[in-house]
């Protein structure tokens, strides 16, 4: 089993490093994930993307289209990659506590 | 013993050869082709399909596109083998006089018949040796090969070598006697086999090859036709024309492990889809 430790509590991860139990998401978890996903410092911009993803997921139960994410947050795809080096689908979604997008992606 | 080898065993060999091949092909044809396996670009009509398959089978075009050296030896081997088989039938039946039919003198006919046979035999021998060498020389092919793969080649080589041996000028083979013997076998009035040990060993090896043939990879003789026919089938037409009903029973049988979405989540887990 994979775990990530947040404030002394072990949180279970799946093989891809995504959290298994979405309710266990916390801002501290984001900070812990940031290190593994190549995010050096969490800025306001990061939180803007993460919060957008979380809100969208809460409403629709799925990650938004990448282009919609860019348009609504005002970041270009390149800027998103600068923020989250492992990309919007695998990096940003992981930090936001969303399940890993699957299929032909 | 000679009675068995000469008058009984050939019938066993022929019986096993024909029945074995028929059995193999029928087992294949009994299994359905639930989905068209068309390889595109697909032949547009039945005539084109037959032409395409014929070309692939006669000229080995897929090999030509790939490994040119293999294509050369494989093609030479099969063509010379075919020539040798035809040569046996014609040459023995006409006692090498077949070319008098196209105006040659009896002597010239014999000479041509014997030369052609010798050339085809040598080509066959060389190509079998080349294929044997290739099997040992290419790392992947060597690793892939089982004893049986070498055995096939060796068995055919043995047949060819004993056959070619009889062509040596120092060896005398009485062709009319052999014709009488083979004629007797064919007309179901077997006569004793000529006591020529070269001929007996050649003929015995052929019989062994015939028995081995249907159970070995040598069935690619027919497998290639069935396989090619399958991947050159015309694709389905939609909407499905009236009266067309493709074999729709695929894998699902007793003890189905996959539940349809209708039964999933009900915790039964034992539902058979029973298609």
């Amino acid at each position: 089993m994979n775990y990530i430790e947040v404030n002394g509590v072990k949180i279970e991860l799946d093989e891809d490093g995504f959290i298994v139990e979405p309710d266990l998401w916390s801002e501290d978890l984001v900070k812990a994930f940031a290190k593994t996903e190549g995010v050096e410092e969490l800025t306001e911009d990061h939180w803007k993307v993460i919060n957008y993803l979380r809100d969208y997921f809460k409403q629709f139960g799925i990650a938004p289209m990448i282009r919609k994410l860019c348009k609504d947050t005002g970041f270009s795809l390149k800027e998103i990659y600068d923020l989250f080096p492992s990309g919007p689908a695998k990096g940003a979604c992981k930090l936001a506590g969303l399940p890993k997008p699957t299929g032909c992606v | 013993m000679l009675y068995f080898i000469g008058q009984v065993f050939p019938y066993i060999a022929m019986g096993v050869f024909l029945a074995g091949l028929a059995w193999r092909v029928l087992t294949w044809l009994k299994a359905p082709v639930p989905f068209q396996l068309t390889m595109f670009p697909a032949p547009a009509s039945a005539v084109e399909r037959v032409t395409a398959v014929g070309k692939q089978l006669c000229l080995f075009t897929p090999l030509y596109k790939g490994d040119r050296t293999l294509w050369f030896w494989a093609w030479i081997m099969h063509v010379s083998l075919a020539l040798v088989i035809v040569g046996h039938i014609v040459g023995i039946y006409f006692l090498t006089q077949q070319f008098t039919l196209i105006g040659l003198s009896p002597k010239a006919s014999t000479l041509l018949s014997e030369s052609l046979g010798t050339v085809a035999g040598i080509m066959l021998l060389l190509s079998l040796l080349a294929l044997f060498y290739r099997r040992t020389a290419i790392a992947e092919v060597k690793r892939l090969s089982d004893p049986a793969d070498y055995f096939d080649l060796l068995l055919i080589l043995a047949v060819v070598i004993t056959g070619m041996h009889m062509r040596l000028p120092t060896v005398h083979v009485d062709l009319p006697v052999i014709r009488t013997y083979l004629g007797g076998l064919l007309t179901l009035q077997p006569v004793p086999i000529p006591e020529n040990w070269l001929f007996i060993s050649h003929f015995l090896l052929v019989n062994i090859l015939m028995i081995y043939f249907p159970f070995s990879k040598l069935v690619h003789l027919l497998g290639s036709v069935v396989s090619r026919a399958m991947i050159s089938e015309a694709p389905p037409v939609y909407p499905t024309p009236a009266g067309v009903q493709r074999q729709a029973t695929i894998f699902a049988k007793e003890g189905q492990s996959y539940e349809s979405s209708a039964t999933r989540g009900q915790g039964t887990g034992s539902q058979s889809r029973g298609v």
Binding site: G103 | V219, I250
Partner: protein, 445 residues
């Protein structure tokens, strides 16, 4: 089990609708399933019994050429099935054993199958070069089917099966999100063209049911937009269906019963909206599944099935296209060229949409796979995926400078950006062929 991909755990297997097989029953059930497959697929019997092991396929397989792993050489891959098959189902194999290349089933075998049948892209290129037309894709399809019947499958496939069942698409996009995405794309098209171009969802009494790839609703937006613009301009009465927002049929890639269920879903969706024509979006194996398997899987088909590129090519002269100043090449998805007969259409379309079209070598039915085919898109397989994509990268590199790389299949669209980046061509922009149609269309405002 030590294999390069994540194997679905018991819970995931069950969630996908399969029954795990207890260790003690594996052999017995494996042989029963192999028997089942052999008697239901002539191809398996003929192809396993006909190979002469000439090895011509070795140099034709991008998987072998990229990984240099003996078991990825097509004849050797098929041997993984052939050897047990011979032992239990052929006379010579039962009598002669190892001499004839027959081998007993052992517990290692399943790991080998999971490893190597998931490094075959089912591209069918070997069948093009086999003197007997032996198609290793058939063997791979059968092997993956047998394993999934035993409850052994990649986590990736199991997850997709769950999403498909729940939402009608591989990504698991629920209907409200589909509506939201469609509205977003409509807005995008309005901003660009000033026109009210609709993406109708579940519209009854439609003539055409368009089945996009669900990835068109996540990453490949321009493919969907291209199709919508085309239908709009042609005045087609069309719709997409929330019941099947998925051209991809992963069942074909791991379990034939799941494949059939998908095809039945397609038939139901078409009946629901009243479509007489189903147009399949840009998805390679999904096209093969729809085109070649629908009838065999679920009986007579009452509608016509076309590929969106066939449809666009047929209507090309009616589209208001202005050539884009681009130098473009085309990657033939394996399941279009070799397995689906969509070969010249993408070329006609691209030539009409851009100034310069260049062919890569080899092309058409002899093209090499992108390396992601048959759903080998697992993240954990990334290193192997790059090896599988090596031949493709070499082909593209040989063409020099390009502006756009047309890859009209969602798997290729997911795989090739990684491959290009890995082999130093990360800046090359790529996408579908319908993307080009959408961009080349000029509307009067």
């Amino acid at each position: 089990m030590k294999v390069p991909l994540h194997v679905a755990k018991e819970q995931e297997v069950k969630a996908a609708g399969f029954k795990p097989t207890p260790e003690t029953e594996i052999k017995e059930k494996f042989l029963a399933k192999l028997d089942d497959v052999r008697s239901s697929m002539r191809s398996i019997m003929v192809m396993l019994e006909t190979c002469t092991k000439c090895g011509n396929c070795a140099q034709q397989c991008h998987s072998y050429l990229g990984t240099n792993d003996y078991n990825n050489f097509p004849a050797a891959r098929a041997e993984l099935m052939r050897r047990v098959y011979k032992r239990y189902f052929t006379t010579a194999g039962k009598l002669l054993g190892r001499f004839y290349g027959a081998e007993e089933f052992d517990s290692e075998l399943i790991s080998k199958w999971m490893t190597y049948f998931y490094q075959c892209n089912e591209c069918r290129r070997c069948a093009q070069f086999c003197p007997f037309g032996i198609d290793t894709a058939e063997v791979t399809i059968a092997a993956r089917h047998i394993m999934s019947e035993l409850g052994i499958m990649p986590k990736f496939m199991a997850g997709i099966a769950v999403n498909m069942e729940k939402s009608g698409n591989n990504m698991g996009i629920p209907k409200p999100a589909i509506v939201d995405c469609a509205e977003f794309m409509e807005d995008e098209m309005r901003d660009e063209t000033g026109l009210d171009i609709k993406i109708p969802i579940d519209k009854p009494n439609s003539d055409v049911l368009y089945v996009p790839s669900s990835a068109d609703f996540f990453t490949n937006v321009d493919t969907m937009i291209g199709a919508a613009k085309m239908f709009h301009h042609l005045g087609v009465n069309w719709t997409i269906s929330s019941k099947i927002l998925e051209a991809a049929n992963f069942g074909l890639l791991f379990n034939m019963n799941v494949m059939r269920e998908h095809n039945q879903r397609l038939k139901e969706a078409a009946r629901e909206v009243g479509a007489s024509l189903v147009v399949q979006g840009e998805c390679g194996h999904g096209w093969r599944a729809a085109r070649m398997y629908t009838e065999g899987a679920s009986g007579p088909v009452p509608f016509k099935i076309m590929h969106v590129l066939e449809y666009a090519a047929e209507n090309l002269s009616k589209l208001p296209l202005r050539k884009l100043p681009l130098r473009v090449t085309l990657h033939d998805p394996c399941n279009y060229a070799r397995a689906g007969g969509v070969i010249e259409q993408p070329r006609q379309i691209i030539r009409a949409c851009v100034e310069e079209f260049v062919e890569m070598t080899p092309n058409r039915e002899e093209n090499f796979c992108c390396g992601g085919g048959s759903g080998i898109l697992m993240d954990e397989m990334m290193e192997i995926r790059m090896q599988l994509g090596k031949k493709k990268a070499e082909q593209v590199k040989a063409l020099g400078s390009l502006d756009y790389f047309a890859v009209p299949c969602s798997i290729c669209k997911a795989q090739l950006p990684h491959v290009m980046k890995h082999y130093g061509m990360g800046s090359l922009s790529m996408g579908g062929v319908m993307d080009l149609v959408g961009k080349a269309m000029v509307f009067d405002k």
